[in-house]
Amino acid sequence: MGTSQGNFMIEINGVCAKYRKTVLTDVNLKTSKGECIGLLGLNGSGKSTLLSCIAGIKKPQSGSIKTEGKIGFVTQENALIDELNAIDNIMMWTSLKRSEIMKELEGPELSILKVKDFANVKVKNMSGGMKKRVALTSILITKPDILLLDEPLAALDIPAKKDILTIIDSFISRGGTVVVASHEEEMFAHCSSVYYLNKGKATLLPKGANISEVINA
């Protein structure tokens, strides 16, 4: 793990990673500011592992990963605490005060996720969509430069998907870099490039490739 030289926000060279079985083999990937990279692949193809490696949570067996700026990682399973409400969960990971957080939630960016509407609801009483909104808010409020998203649209209803896609677009338009692992076709429409992970290898799909064909292949 190091700092990327040049214009790249993320620079991955020859990364291999394994748990008991090898999951990633010689993965190479580069992305610049304002780009959104999609990771496509079957279950167990190594998408989440690659995101963990980028986040620095998992150490790759070999190869190098260089990143520039602060990383925010929204994992597939949320890191929220059931006994606390949305605000307390957000406060837990920032030094911001309650009033400052409320102000941020009302701001032009985070207001898209509508967390203010259920700010005092305990997580255990929230739906899956609400939890996803809180998890994403708790990351975005820390102002990351790189956003890593693992299945951000999984099990969400249409309005929730729309709001999350909107905020991702907003983040990219502000110069943020996004790497997203997903199975959802509509997610890849927002990506500047899509990598297909299969048998540990990451292959860059050509522009305009039919995602559903790749998924079904």
Partner: protein
């Protein structure tokens, strides 16, 4: 983050309180049931000891004195025998766990400083000799010490009124000799410190630990430091796994401490008269148990599984340590195994803490 964790702990406390209430009621029920099942005649006496002594006023008075001692009464039931052979027979038949044969003139020997030894006979198949002998003999020794002090006072009185100076001098020398040697009278005493406590005290301490251990069931749902998502989030926020463990362990300790205080305050106003110092002294026990619970949660990485592991391992260890059932009811090899059990020492520590 600490503030959020405290808030989280406060929100979690009602679950802990309900869980502890249920456990305390269950433990109370078990203790009440055990009193009727394990201990005959509604007393706490748990072992029989055969005893032979020459009937005379000094000996009878001394034995009666010992039998009325609280710690003795709760652990030993003395069976008077008519002769030393009967003592041997009872010991050999396994009717008693030990036999005591007081030599003729035992009490007199103490008065004169001759200090005759008591024969202590063990039953090979019995399992609790150390406990019985230690309790009995320490009580006897105390009694003899009291007797010795009385004698000293009597001779002081004689001296003051010039009744018999030569007798006073001899008595003083003998008293001193006895006082110096009375703890060596019974050399075979090898019982550990736990046997200094009454059975009720031991049961109370053991069940208090068991209740605290079983709280792992509820704390397993509190613990988040074993989920990959939470660890990942913490790491990105600059909090290492170790820091997270320490933080969560601290919270578990705090939450565990509150019901522990309630238990101790309850015991303080009960006839057991637990020492108020226990409110502070119990902290290391709480910390140890909280660390065990957090450790299991950290390793097992699943709330439900962690709860079951804590329950299963905790129950087994407490059982083998004699915490759930007196050790003397168990096979000999299990009793010997107890000294390798950490819970055995934890119970000993808790006893010291509660009954300082």
């Amino acid at each position: 983050m600490l503030k959020a964790f405290f808030k989280r702990a406060l929100n979690f406390m009602p679950y802990v309180a309900v869980y502890f209430l249920v456990l305390c009621l269950m433990a109370g029920g078990i203790i009440a049931y055990a009193r009727n099942v394990f201990y005959k005649d509604g007393t706490f006496a748990i072992v029989n000891v055969a005893c032979y002594y020459i009937e005379n006023s000094e000996n009878s008075y001394g034995l009666q004195f010992v039998e009325n001692m609280e710690s003795f009464e709760q652990s030993v039931h003395l069976i008077d025998c008519d002769n030393p052979e009967e003592v041997l027979e009872l010991v050999e038949d396994g009717e008693v766990v030990a036999g005591l044969i007081f030599p003729d003139g035992f009490v007199d020997s103490i008065m004169t400083g001759e200090n005759l030894s008591v024969d202590v006979i063990y039953n090979e198949s019995a399992t609790f000799e150390g406990y019985v002998v230690s309790d009995l003999l320490s009580s006897l020794t105390s009694m003899l010490g009291v007797g010795q002090a009385s004698m000293q006072s009597m001779y002081d009185f004689c001296k003051e009124y010039d009744l018999d100076t030569s007798a006073v001098d001899v008595a003083q020398i003998r008293s001193l000799s006895y006082a110096m040697s009375r703890f060596d009278l019974f050399e075979e005493t090898q019982a550990d410190s736990i046997s200094d406590y009454s059975l009720v005290q031991k049961t109370t301490a053991a069940y208090s630990i068991y209740i605290l251990l079983l709280s792992g069931f509820v704390f397993a749902y509190f613990y988040k430091g074993n989920t990959s998502a939470f660890i990942a989030r913490a790491k990105l926020a600059g909090i290492s796994k170790f820091k997270l463990f320490v933080l969560e362990n601290g919270m578990v300790t705090c939450m565990l401490y509150v019901p522990t205080l309630v238990i101790i305050v309850g015991l303080m106003i009960s006839p057991l008269e637990v020492s108020p110092l226990a409110l502070i002294a119990v902290l290391p026990v709480v910390l140890m148990i909280a660390t065990v619970i957090s450790g299991v949660c950290y390793v097992v990485k699943n709330s439900v599984a962690s709860g079951y592991v804590i329950f299963a391992v905790g129950t087994l260890l407490m059982y083998l340590a004699g915490g759930l059932m007196p050790l003397e009811f168990m096979p000999r090899f299990l009793q010997e195994l107890a000294i390798y059990n950490p819970c055995y020492y934890l119970i000993g520590f808790m006893l010291k803490v509660m009954f300082i």
